[in-house]
């Protein structure tokens, strides 16, 4: 007889959602989180896209600690001297809220409290060491000299899944599977943020940039998200490129981004409140391991469930969805009285039909595009050159766009054959 029906390792969006759902169905649940309070070890940009939480808490948009709804999406390029962006605003986003900026210490604290209120035993400040096995079946978790037993273990460890890797449930992390995320939270007033970003009535902006000013093959994206009275500013850095260049450090890239001539004014006068770093899953569908086995399920980032195509970055919504799917599987097992492998396989069926897996399958290999020299070097330079050609008044006779474009193409010095291959790949994948 196990002490718990289910043990959940990690109280992020995946783990806390799973624990909450299971506990509200009467399961005896233990939720263990190494951070104290929950969320203190977690970093996310972060925008929570989608409506996943409504499946757990119908009134979540009123009760969860959300910062601003996203009314405004910016996607762009930064070069040494220029800012090139598409600034998309639409009434549709204001009517049907599609995403909210969130701060994880607040959100994760709220989610963990919800899990506790639902009846889970929530333990914080303790790191689980590994899984307890009996006859090739997971029967609980190990911590120190103790074993805590359960019928099921839900792994929701996040982007650095030490247990899943250590127990051989998934391969170790490679350079192309993750990126380094660094984030600052800068405090300003609500009013100043509204004025600087042209926002009102709780609306917010989510901006992502390709950092075309980086040299030596180092590649990174930058982001700016508005919270209620803070701005989250950060970078996501390709590890493989960074490893090859010994002269650039990750924090240099962060410094360059926040001091860029067209980013710095947004943050000016603000007070640095947080500075954090974390791994970001980037491996795509090929990085997703087998999601279940005898006595366990893997959810959220620890299963590599995150999506990025350079313009949209998502993860928390997939985490919540996978947590709910794992919980529903556990509830089904409990009701049927069987925790056999074919019962746990139900989780895999649910996930196969999930938006997360569908999105990731659909965009298999996208990281080759999002981290391509084309996106990070060619497009920023080319666009800058074309726009300069179009808008810079020289007093000379004006040229046609095609002429400007061809000139700019030459100016970038980018290999044409490579351009055609990468361009074709970009159109196909993105």
């Amino acid at each position: 007889m196990s002490e718990f029906d289910a043990i959940v390792v990690g109280a992020g969006p995946a783990g806390a959602s799973a624990a909450s759902r299971m506990a509200s169905s009467g399961l005896n649940v233990l939720l263990v989180e190494r951070g104290d309070p929950p969320g203190s070890k977690n970093v996310s940009g972060g925008i929570l896209w989608g409506q996943e939480l409504s499946k757990l808490y119908p009134d979540w948009e009123k009760s969860a600690p959300l910062e601003r709804f996203i009314s405004n999406k910016v996607t762009g390029f930064l070069t040494d001297d220029s800012y090139i962006g598409i600034d998309f605003r639409t009434k549709k986003f204001e009517k049907e809220k599609t995403g909210y900026s969130v701060l994880r210490t607040k959100l994760d604290g709220w989610l963990a409290k919800k899990a506790k209120d639902a009846g889970s035993t929530v333990i914080t400040g303790i790191t689980v060491d590994g899984l307890a096995w009996n006859d090739k079946r997971v029967v609980g978790i190990k911590q120190g000299n103790d074993i805590i037993t359960s019928d099921l273990v839900v792994l929701a460890e996040g982007a650095n899944p030490r247990i899943a890797i250590g127990e051989g449930l998934r391969p170790p992390i490679g350079d192309h599977d993750v990126a380094i995320g660094i984030k600052q939270v800068v405090k300003l007033s609500e009013q100043v943020i509204n004025e600087r970003f042209n926002l009102r009535n709780g609306a917010g902006m989510a901006a992502e940039f390709s950092l075309g000013f980086l040299k030596n093959g180092v590649k990174a994206g930058g982001f700016l998200y508005t919270n209620k009275d803070t701005i989250s500013a950060g970078v996501v850095i390709d590890i493989a490129g960074l490893r090859k260049d010994n002269s650039t450090y990750s924090f240099n890239i962060m410094d360059q981004f926040v001091s860029h001539p067209y980013i710095a004014p947004y943050l000016e006068g603000g007070q640095l409140q947080e500075y954090s770093a974390h791994l970001v899953c980037e491996g795509g569908i090929d990085y997703v391991p087998k999601l279940y086995g005898n006595g366990y399920m893997i959810t959220g980032d620890s299963a590599g469930l995150s999506f990025s195509n350079g313009m949209v970055i998502q993860g928390m919504n997939y985490a919540i969805a996978s947590g709910i799917a794992a919980a529903d599987t556990a509830i089904r097992c409990k009701n049927s009285g069987s925790y056999d492998l074919d019962q746990i396989a139900y989780y895999d069926n649910l996930m196969k039909d999930s938006q997360a897996i569908k999105d990731m399958k659909n965009f298999r290999g996208i990281s080759k595009v999002t981290w391509s020299p084309m996106v990070h070097e060619f497009i920023p330079k080319f666009a800058e050159s074309v726009l300069n050609g179009m808008f810079y008044e020289t007093g000379e006779p004006k040229k046609h766009l095609m002429e400007i474009a061809l000139g700019s193409l030459k100016e970038t010095g980018y290999d044409r054959k490579k351009l055609i291959i990468e361009g074709f790949r970009l159109m196909r994948k993105m």
Binding site: P37, I123, G125, I126, I141, Q143, G144, D146
Partner: protein
């Protein structure tokens, strides 16, 4: 016979995160995380090390608001056996005198005690009064600022770090000992203990349980009040790169500016 050890702990704002409100000059606690006072963790570890050798019961006693429960649970998860939180609105705003009285009366309500261990002082007010105060209210001996304690044959042997050496003091129980910050390495909490502690919960004792009069405790029982808090601005210091050749000139300059004096 089982040795009864009491450990006094306090929940404090994490000193690394404390900010002073520039307007009110009060500590702004809303932004800070609450933690167990670090020296009290050393006190608990000292008790646990005694318990490693002889049969003992460790009771945690703390005075504080209800949220101090998290600190008590942490202490149980490290190895304490029982936790009593003395909590009542009437205790609010107490200075060190009624705090000592309140904690002492809670300890005297326990069936029995042999050794009381406290941290040298709390990181948020740094008075070091409450431990010695408790010993005085209870009328027992005290050994303060200890780096090490041992128990054998009904006696406590304690080492006190002095400026010019180490003093070894021996004392029969009952005795109160205060431990220096950093005097040992507190052991980790275990999940097993934390689950049990979380499920079991802690004991909360109020004014009535202690049988104290409201005018003896809290702000009413406090002979001192804090009139004003002031934050100190760090002075900008001049910096100059030093080269070997420039040293004589720099010394001369310091002398001329009356910073260095020659006898």
């Amino acid at each position: 016979m089982v040795l009864e050890i009491v450990v006094m702990v306090k929940q404090v704002p994490d000193s690394q995160e404390v900010v002073i409100d520039p307007v009110t000059m009060n500590l702004n606690r809303s932004m800070t995380r609450n933690v167990t006072n670090r020296a009290d963790e050393n006190a608990l570890e000292a008790a646990l090390q005694i318990k490693d050798k002889v049969p003992a019961n460790i009771t945690i006693v703390s005075m504080g608001p209800p949220q101090a429960e998290t600190t008590m649970i942490e202490c149980l998860a490290r190895g304490a056996d029982r936790a009593v939180l003395v909590s009542d609105r009437a205790f609010g705003g107490a200075d060190t005198y009624p705090t000592g009285l309140t904690v002492a009366s809670a300890i005297s309500k326990l069936d029995h005690f042999d050794i009381i261990i406290a941290g040298e002082e709390s990181s948020d007010s740094s008075t070091g009064h409450v431990g010695p105060g408790v010993a005085e209210f209870l009328g027992i001996d005290q050994i303060t600022y200890c780096s090490k304690i041992e128990f054998s044959d009904g006696r406590v042997t304690a080492e006190r770090e002095l400026e010019d050496g180490t003093e070894v003091v021996q004392c029969p129980t009952p005795v109160l000992v205060t431990m220096l910050l950093g005097s040992n390495f507190p052991r980790m909490q275990t999940l097993r203990r934390k689950i049990d502690a979380t499920k079991k919960g802690i004991e909360v004792w109020n004014l009535e349980k202690l049988g104290l009069q409201p005018e003896w405790v809290g702000v009413r029982g406090s002979p001192t009040i804090v009139r004003r808090m002031q934050s100190i601005k760090e002075r900008e210091r001049a910096k100059k790169p030093v080269t070997l050749e420039a040293i004589p000139d720099m010394v001369k300059e310091l002398y001329e500016k009356n910073i260095l004096k020659v006898k």
